[in-house]
Each structure stands twice: as C-alpha cells, then as structure tokens.
C-alpha cells in the first residue's frame, strides 16, 4: 500500500511538471501571437507548434508509462463546496480511499470553488453540447446500412487518391519544368564564350598583333569575325582590339603578320591579320 501510494505521488509530480511545461509554452505562444503578430515569422510559429507537440508527446509517454498507475481508477470527489470567495482556494480532494489535502494556487482564474464551477473543473466527460453532437453522429452512422457505408468509404478513398495524384503531379511539374522556363540558371552561349576564353583566349585581350588563335588551330581564318558575330560579345572585341596596337608588339611580329603599317581600325587589323596567319605555312 505504502509503495503504491509513493508511486502515485511520483507519477502525479511528473505529470504536474509536464503540464506546467506545456502551460508555459502555451502561454508564451499566446503571448507571441498577441503581441508580436506583426513581426512573427512562419518558421517561428512552426517552432512553437513543434515544441507543443513534443511536450504533448512527453505527457502522453508519462501517462502510458508502465510505472504510472491507472489514473482512471482513481476517483476524485469534492468535499467542500462554498459560494464564498476563497483566497487560497483550498481544495480538498478525496482520492478513492485516501484523503489528500492540496493547496493550490490557480493564478486567479478560479476565485470560488462553488456549485457552479465544480462541474466544469472536475468534468471527465465532454461538454453536454459536444455529447449531444456525438450522439447525433452515432445515430446517423447507425442509420446508414453497411452497403451504403462501404460505398461512401470507397468514394472517399477515390477522392483522396485523386487529390494525392493531382498534388504530386503538380509538384513534379513545378520541380522539373516549372523551374527552368521561369528562371534560366545558365546560358549555353555564355558557356561557350567562357570555355573559348580559357581554352585559347577568345574575347580576351590579345596583346599580339597576329590574332593568334591559340594552340593547335593554325591559320584559323576570321577568328575575329566569328567572335564579333557572337551575341553580346561585340563589345569584348571592340575593347580588346585597340590595345592590339600597344607597344607590346615587337617589330618582328609586325613583320610576320605582314601588316607593318598603321592600321586604320582595330577590328580590321584583327580580321586581316587572322587571315594572314603567321603559322599558316
């Protein structure tokens, strides 16, 4: 007997602390909703929900724990009911065979322990209206025949699976097709331009007059013109071309390019020199 009582005490304490935690987080969530609703972000709401759900889970675990005695086997009856305001709110509770006195602060929510509030606070069944509704539903369910019920179940299942299919289809489309047409993440023309630039300096400043097209591509005529035709890259060529007449080029190279004279325009230089490539033999 002594042991059982101790166990009951311990599990009640555990339950109380769990409920207190839950109450605290509910309180802070409500406070957040009421006072910070203007700058509340959805992730933080989700966090609060996750916290509550976790605490409810722990509470359930405590209730289902094998060492927790079955609370439903305990009976609680009010011993004293008084219409007077009770500052300390002394509640006398008899639990089955033992009498237990508990002084509980209700934080100002229950000022009196009277006939009016006791049915609400010690209620173990749903509200009468809810009970009424439930009864209504039960009778409705009983009225329908087994065949009709089966049919309704089937149609509901069908609707659900249809809906699921639609949703997943939508997801697939938005993931596969929806992303790319709306927002291009890469441009094949840019890829080509960049690859050409690192491979043989196409579009980069060529300090040499020969318009050298790079390794292993001797005498590629009109490298410059091809480039100038590439969309969006004209300015590349324009800017790069004038610097070709920089003093970097030596006289030897000039001679090799076969264009020793002064060039009228940078672009022209490039095209001409490319067609008279020094490596073309």
């Amino acid at each position: 007997m002594q042991r059982e009582e101790k166990q009951l005490e311990a599990s009640l304490d555990a339950l109380l602390s769990q409920v207190a935690d839950l109450k605290n987080s509910l309180g802070s969530f409500i406070y957040k909703l009421e006072n910070e609703y203007d700058r509340l972000t959805w992730p933080s709401v989700l966090d609060s929900f996750a916290l509550l759900s976790g605490q409810l889970n722990t509470l359930n675990k405590v209730l289902k724990h094998e060492k927790t005695p079955l609370f439903r086997n305990q009976v609680i009856i009010p011993l004293v009911l008084s219409p007077d305001r009770d500052e300390d709110l002394m509640v006398c509770i008899t639990r089955a065979d033992t009498v237990l006195e508990q002084k509980r602060q209700t934080e100002g929510r229950v000022p009196v322990f009277s006939h009016e509030v006791v049915p609400d606070h010690l209620r173990t069944k749903p509200d009468p209206e809810v009970e009424e509704q439930e009864k209504q539903l039960t009778t409705d369910a009983a009225r329908i025949g087994a065949d009709a019920a089966q049919k309704q179940i089937q149609s509901l299942n069908k609707m659900c699976s249809n809906l699921l299919e639609k949703i997943s289809k939508e997801e697939r489309e938005s993931e596969g097709g929806g992303l790319r047409p709306n927002k291009q993440t890469f441009n094949p023309a840019d890829t080509n331009a960049l690859v050409a630039a690192v491979a043989f300096g196409k579009g980069l400043s060529n300090w040499r007059p020969s318009g050298s097209s790079g390794p292993g591509q001797p005498g590629q005529p009109g490298a410059g013109t091809v480039l100038a035709g590439a969309s969006g890259l004209q300015q590349v060529q324009m800017a790069g071309a004038p610097s070709q007449q920089q003093p970097m080029l030596s006289g030897v190279q000039m001679a090799q390019a076969g264009q020793p004279g002064k060039m009228p325009s940078g672009i022209k230089t490039n095209i001409k020199s490319a067609s008279m490539h020094p490596y073309q033999r």
């Binding site: 840019d190 690192v198 980069l204 040499r208 390794p215 001797p218 890259l233 590349v236 920089q246 490596y279």
Partner: protein
Amino acid sequence: MEAPPVTMMPVTGGTINMMEYLLQGSVLDHSLESLIHRLRGLCDNMEPETFLDHEMVFLLKGQQASPFVLRARRSMDRTGAPWHLRYLGQPEMGDKNRHALVRNCVDIATSENLTDFLMEMGFRMDHEFVAKGHLFRKGIMKIVVYKIFRILVPGNTDSTEALSLSYLVELSVVAPAGQDMVSDDMRNFAEQLKPLVHLEKIDPKRLM
C-alpha cells in the same frame, strides 16, 4: 629559333603521365548563390575556399604548324604562394563511353621569376586574364566556379572588366592515364547539379 625544347607528344614514362578529365558549364550571376549552396552540400565538408588568380598564356613558335603553349598562373590574393606553370595537351573528346574531355597535363610549381624565364626561352605572352571564384573538392574531384575578367591595360591587373554575365563552372580530375572510370564519378556528380548547371564535355575546337 630551333625546334621547341618540349615536343607536342604526351610526356610518357616516369610518374608524370597525368591526364586531366574535364567537364565544363556555366551559371548565370543571379544563380551563383544557389549553385554555391548546392556545392557546399554535395562536396567535402571544408571551409569555403575562394581564389583570385592571374593567368598568362605563353606561346612558343617553332617549326611546327602549331605553337607550343604554356600557362602561368599566380595567386593575387595569397602573397608568397608559388607560381603555377601548366602544360595542357590536345583535348580528346573520346567516345560516348567516356563522359569527360581528356587532355594531357603537367603541373609544376615555380618561383616568381617564371615569366622572365619563359621570355628568355623565346616564349611570348599571347593573352592573360584574371579568374576570381570559388573552389570545392569532393574526393579527387575538383570543382571551380569562377568569373573571368579581361585585363584592360596589359600587365595591370587592377583595371579589369568581367567577360560575361556568367560564371564558368569546371569539374576536373587529374589522374594517371587510362583511368577512365573517374569519368563515371564525374558524370554522376554532374547529374546532381542539374538543372542548375549542365556540365558537359565541350570540344574547344568546335568554338573556334
């Protein structure tokens, strides 16, 4: 000028017969952030690495039809780092069974007077650019995402101009010749970057 001191033949023998397997693609500026996020998720867990390099490409003309090309690269944001001299062979597209471009490659770290040395040997600078971007690794795979900048005044890396509105994305592995299996891993990795970036084997000759 005599024939170039190094032939165009792949360097064989010893331990330096390395091949670079390469896949290339690009990403537009506004999608760079998403790509970086995805790469950080996919790649080895390491501190995000950035680089700012100046690459100069040198040519040596010989009797052969095509000039000999060497690439010299120096870090602009890490003082004291060695220069990097690189030889790249002719890219081979290969068949459908190989999923990456393959080219011979020789990498050497050098001192900073590399350019003078090359000039003395008869090399002439063909072009130069600045590369700025991010570096990721996954095992032996290297992923670089970088922007290419044109240099407006020769030799002055302070005044540069972006070449395009995209970042170049390169997935590369340097492995001994004949290790074509690595291209399978590269293909699998490239699949995971779709549809953000399409990494492909791009034949540069096609872009001439």
